[in-house]
């Protein structure tokens, strides 16, 4: 980038932007690394890079990946009526029912929210943590864009959880028909929460490693 030469970072200038309130604080004299720096306006801890960001992201990401398996294999709900008995439904099965029922658009929406978004999120977070760990300078602008995207779309995966809760609440005709939530729903809800926590733990500034250790005396 041609403009990169004129660009200076907070770490170089001992400037801290508060992630909560936006106040920019300038550290007037060097202090020990371990000294906590609460934002004078809102007390949010200030860092050039959030501590243990990658470890935390890894932990949530691994947990999410493991739970993603039961989330897709176990049924998320069961329907029952006197004529057909009990039927179990997985996430993929539900999408198939919508598709064969002729609701192409809804099948696509649920597919994107329940299958595509969680898989993309897990894959994208893997790319982000691995490249950040290696202090890679590969496609930094695109990786920054990728981070913003997964952070923005993450909560849409909760769609199927809400649908099942509403069906459980609404379809209550006793022996004529009913819907029950099943354990897959619990796993799926946990995956959504864990991937959101993983994205929230990742510090996007790690996409932009400093040349050397942050300078303490600019």
């Amino acid at each position: 980038m041609s403009e990169a030469s004129s660009l200076q970072t907070g770490a170089q200038l001992r400037l801290y932007g508060c992630p909560t309130c936006g106040r920019v604080s300038q550290l007037l004299h060097p202090i020990a690394d371990s000294t906590p720096l609460p934002c004078p306006r809102c007390a949010t801890p200030l860092h050039h890079r959030r501590p243990r960001s990658l470890q935390r992201t890894w932990a949530y990401l691994i947990a999410a990946t493991i739970l993603y398996i039961p989330a897709n294999l176990l049924p998320i709900m069961s329907t029952s009526n006197v004529f057909q008995g009990e039927t179990l439904h997985t996430i993929l099965g539900g999408i198939e029912e919508l598709r064969t029922g002729g609701d192409w658009l809804l099948a696509l929406i649920v597919f994107i929210a329940s299958i595509a978004v969680p898989m993309l999120k897990i894959g994208a977070l893997l790319v982000l943590v691995i490249t950040a760990q290696r202090r890679s300078r590969w496609k930094q602008v695109e990786r920054a864009q990728l981070y913003r995207m997964i952070d923005a779309v993450g909560h849409w995966s909760m769609l199927d959880v809400f649908v099942v809760v509403l069906l459980v609440g609404t379809i209550r005709f006793g022996p004529l028909g009913g819907v029950m939530p099943e354990p897959g729903l619990l796993a799926f809800g946990a995956v959504v929460v864990l991937t959101m926590l993983a994205a929230g733990s990742f510090d996007p500034r790690l996409i932009w490693p400093e040349e050397e250790a942050p300078q303490r005396h600019p």
Binding site: T20, H29, Q140, F162, L167, V168, P204
Partner: protein, 232 residues
């Protein structure tokens, strides 16, 4: 970056509220002339943004600020409307089913209760929090904060309230729930006759209002409180 910073703001006297300044706080001088990108740490000069324009980071393209289109008083009106609609959205049925004369309908709290009773307390709590409690707390906090600030008062517990607002903004999912109601209605309609209820429409409106309020960000709240209270 977001708003013009009046020169008086930088020299505002310290109010007693800011007296918790410690040794480290004194070592952290405010630089109201600068903006540091939250997503890549690049430093920018703060500029005044015209209405409807946005500023992006030169290095990583992250959104740094917006020139606001909606004023504070209008945001307060949105929050009042949002509170009323959340109350309606939670007391009116979302969908009504008619199965050969047997009518079944449910509000959001009833659906949550049914899920709890069906042996999925975690899912029930998750839904209650993200679809009901967080959007409600979001609205109440906005009302509390904006209601005081427009009258020139920094409300009690301003800083903790702002931290809580950031949390419920991130974890509130009214818009996802709204789409979920539509999918649920269509799936019910494939079984039996289904009629969308008032609750669905109320939640649709809540979604729009919360989105509009969220888009305005929190910078103006911090700025107003600094101007009134003179803290940091």
């Amino acid at each position: 970056m977001t708003d013009p910073v009046p020169s008086a703001h930088a020299h505002a006297p310290f109010a007693p509220a800011a007296a918790r300044a410690t040794v480290t706080a004194a070592a952290l001088a405010a630089r109201h002339d600068l903006v540091v990108c939250n997503e890549c740490d690049a430093v920018h000069e703060r500029i005044t943004l015209a209405r409807g324009t946005v500023a992006r980071c030169r290095r990583c393209n992250a959104l740094l600020g917006r020139g606001h289109v909606i004023g504070t008083e209008k945001l307060l009106a949105f929050a009042i409307a949002s509170l009323l609609l959340i109350i309606i959205g939670n007391s009116a049925p979302i969908v009504t089913l008619d199965f050969q004369g047997v009518v079944s309908q449910a509000t959001l709290p009833q659906a949550i209760e049914a899920t709890w009773n069906a042996g999925q307390p975690f899912v029930a709590v998750l839904t209650a929090a993200t679809a009901l409690v967080f959007p409600l707390v979001f609205t109440i906090l906005r009302l509390y904060l904006l209601g005081s600030l427009v009258r020139g008062i920094v409300p009690r517990g301003f800083v903790p309230a702002m931290h809580m607002l950031a949390f419920v903004t991130r974890w509130g999912m009214a818009e996802v729930f709204m789409l979920g109601t539509l999918v649920a209605v269509v799936r019910c309609a494939s079984l039996t006759s289904a009629t969308p209820g008032i609750g669905l429409f109320a939640y649709g409106a809540v979604t729009l209002l919360i989105t509009a309020i969220t888009a305005a960000g929190t910078h103006n709240l911090w700025k107003r409180s600094s101007e009134i209270g003179g803290n940091a």
